[in-house]
């Protein structure tokens, strides 16, 4: 249920009920998933299999790094597992020249926005209404991305910034991607500022940004959204509400019925959506993006998710999540759900799913292995603090 003045109901979007707001230990949004009524969205097979490919690609990416963490090859890892349906679908609305500002669980959005699946896996996906790809060398950018995760010199930040804290801007390709700083909430005004520039410069381009439900308590959430609304900026903020912030349940984070209701507090649409359903998210995002491009201003999207992993790998924060909740969360894995749905709908057969999984798995082994062989940063190199 949306608390916005102008309820956003994309055709077929599976909006969860505000009254069944997922809370730790209580009923979560997943249990009230109305099932993926994607018909109204008009997605063809190609579009759906593309969505699926990126869910899988993102999942395997994470699994690869989780493995490395377990073997000690990595010292820190924030998992995106469980967020893929939301992040992939959200980034699917991005076009050339749009801006992506990502957080720590958004590998799905990054991969979706950067990559042309035909470059990576020629012939894997059927022809059809797929998302136009940016003109980027997929292998090259993945290499840099993997180097970035490993802190290598060939990463986007040359080892100066950790994992998802980098920015990568390729004007020629129309790619604008800025990662996070650690201070939660801080990037919301910055993302709104990117949206401001896009509007100010006379384009119809938009900026999207992600935030966890925990970071909605920050002052910057408020200042950024309020200004975005007053200035009618082409901006979409997607709350990845996985019900937990580190070890803190949502019930200790906010007392409102849903975070989507905060849209009304800023005079923008606020919509809650089942974040485990990529097509539902896509529907909501399409409406929000169209609104933003048309000058209608920002939208707040609350995607209801489950907490599949601890805050970061190896901390024991998952221990705070009640077992029952965790079991439900796992039973509602967005990738599993989507695969079942595709099979049920006859969009593909099991061998396609296996093929995709295998290809993604192999791709990451190859990409990450190559990255792992590259040089460490050179500590004798200069790194300027000022632009000149």
């Amino acid at each position: 249920m949306t608390a916005s003045q102008e309820p956003l109901r994309a055709p077929g979007a599976a909006l969860t009920e505000g009254s069944s707001r997922g809370r730790s230990g209580t009923k979560t949004s997943k249990s009230s998933r109305p099932g993926g009524r994607s018909d109204g969205l008009g997605l063809d097979r190609a579009a759906r299999l593309e969505l699926h490919l990126f869910l899988r690609l993102a999942r395997e990416w994470d699994l690869r790094f989780e493995k490395m963490f377990k073997t000690g090859a990595l010292t820190k890892w924030y998992s995106s597992v469980g967020n893929e349906a939301t992040t992939v679908a959200a980034a699917t609305v991005l076009e050339k020249g749009d801006a992506l500002l990502s957080l720590h669980r958004d590998s799905g959005a990054i991969l979706r926005h950067y990559l042309d699946p035909d470059q990576l896996f020629p012939g894997l996906l059927p022809e059809g209404s797929r998302r136009p790809a940016l003109a980027i060398d997929a292998r090259e950018i993945l290499h840099r991305l993997a180097c970035q995760m490993l802190g290598r010199r060939e990463g986007f930040s040359n080892g100066y910034e950790r994992s998802y804290h980098y920015g990568h801007i390729d004007e020629a390709a129309g790619l604008f991607h800025m990662g996070m700083i650690s201070h939660l909430g801080s990037m919301i005004p910055v993302a709104a500022g990117v949206a401001f520039a896009l509007k100010h410069q006379g384009t119809d381009r938009i900026a999207i940004n992600f935030i966890g439900e925990g970071a909605t308590s920050t002052g910057d959430f408020h200042e950024g959204l309020n200004m975005a609304a007053v200035w009618k900026l082409p901006f979409i903020l997607i709350i990845e509400n996985n019900q937990w912030a580190f070890s803190t349940p949502a019930s200790e984070q906010y007392a409102c019925a849903s975070l989507a209701e905060r849209g009304a507090a800023y005079g923008m649409p606020g919509v809650q959506v089942d974040g485990n359903d990529p097509e539902a998210v896509l529907g909501v995002m399409r409406t929000a993006a169209a609104r933003a491009r048309a000058g209608g201003g920002p939208t707040l999207v609350e995607a209801m998710l489950g907490r599949h992993r601890g805050h970061s790998e190896g901390d024991d924060s998952l221990a705070q999540v009640p077992e029952q909740e965790l079991a439900e969360t796992r039973a509602n894995d967005p990738l599993d759900l989507y695969e079942v749905k595709l099979l049920q709908d006859g969009a593909c057969d099991a061998s396609h799913l296996q093929d995709v999984a295998k290809r993604c798995h192999d791709l990451w082994i190859e990409v990450v292995d190559r990255a792992a062989e590259t040089e460490e940063p050179d500590a004798t190199e200069e790194r300027a603090i000022y632009a000149d």
Binding site: I188, P189, A192, G193, A197, E223, N226, I385, Y386
Partner: protein, 334 residues
């Protein structure tokens, strides 16, 4: 305000110099955008942007909500795409509400991502007007401890004009400290048609030659230092006065050269003494020119207290020519 006549050299007040620097920059470069509380229409708390929303439109002269953090964040994001935002803090003190955006987002962006952030934040700051604890502070030292920021604090009208133009061209975040006390009191000649450097870079500027001691200062205090130097001259003491219109980045050559010449160094600033920039300057001198020193380096600064409201209580705290003179005499007598 004088009307817009860009020809030749005109006498301007400090505040008019800022007004014109902003206006001229807006005229020269479409990507310059002003943001701040009450800057459109009303023209800001000090009327510096008066008339701009009419001339440049409300798209480029934007009233913001009362949200310093949001505003600096938005400006930083916009700067990433080549917009050149110039933000007016209504009073310098309010930057504390946008501190994180300034020191963690804007300042570190280039080092982290190699993406420039051409952003200027203007700070009407300083005391002397009985404006109390939250409208009088001198807080530049916080930012001088933040790699990636440039910091400007002009004492003179021509510097106010030229450095603001340069700051707007500079591809880095520049914090521009304007002293409210000088706004209408300080006048000077400005050539608005002369080209300005496109980067902010600092070095000491000798504002008065002298041989017995070197006094470093900036902002309002440069003027009090010059007054003190005048009084010292009458006492037969020849003070060299070095103004620091740019505090970061700061080259030390001119300063050290002067100190080597005079053998004595004093720093005067209005900010509170402990942790102020005087410590940094003193340390740099103690490190690089100690052999040349004939007396301890002295600092004449605000004592460690918040600004009191009452003018009388404030007056005893702000460094004045008497304290500078007395300190110089002690140094000469050392």
């Amino acid at each position: 305000m004088p009307t817009d006549t860009r020809e030749g050299v005109t006498e301007l007040s400090y505040i008019d110099a800022i007004h014109h620097a902003l206006g001229d920059a807006m005229r020269a470069d479409d990507s310059v955008v002003l943001m701040g509380q009450d800057i459109a229409g009303h023209g800001g708390a000090f009327k510096i942007t008066k008339g701009f929303s009419d001339e440049f439109g409300r798209d480029r002269v934007r009233n913001t909500p009362i949200a310093e953090s949001g505003t600096i964040g938005i400006a930083t994001g916009a700067a990433l795409l080549g917009v050149r935002p110039v933000i007016e803090m209504q009073f310098a003190d309010f930057i504390t509400c946008g501190f994180n955006q300034t020191v963690n987002v804007a300042a570190k962006m280039f080092f982290r991502t190699e993406r420039p952030v051409p952003l200027v934040i203007r700070f009407p700051g300083g005391g002397g007007m009985g404006a109390g604890a939250f409208h009088s502070q001198n807080i530049e030292a916080w930012f001088l401890h933040v790699p990636g920021l440039k910091v400007v604090a002009p004492a003179f009208v021509d510097d106010a004009y030229r450095l603001l133009r340069s700051a707007i061209e500079d591809p880095n975040p520049v914090l521009f400290f304007e002293h409210k006390f000088l706004y209408r009191r300080q006048k000077g000649l400005v050539d608005r048609s002369a080209p300005v450097p496109s980067r902010i870079d600092g070095r000491g500027v000798v504002r008065r030659d002298g041989t017995d001691l070197t006094i470093l200062s900036y902002g309002w205090m440069t003027h009090r230092t010059l007054e003190a130097a005048e009084a010292l001259a009458a006492l037969g003491i020849s003070a060299e006065v070095i103004d620091l219109p740019v505090l970061a980045p700061l080259g030390m050559d001119e300063i050290l050269e002067s100190v080597r010449k005079t053998s004595r160094a004093m720093v005067v600033h209005e900010a509170t003494i402990t942790g102020g920039f005087g410590g940094e300057l003193s340390a740099r001198i103690a490190e690089a020119a100690m052999d040349a020193l004939d007396a301890p380096i002295r600092r004449v600064c605000y004592p460690d207290s918040p600004p009191p409201f009452h003018k009388g209580l404030e007056a005893v705290r702000i460094p004045d020519p008497d304290r500078i003179v007395a300190t110089a005499r002690e140094m000469l007598a050392w």
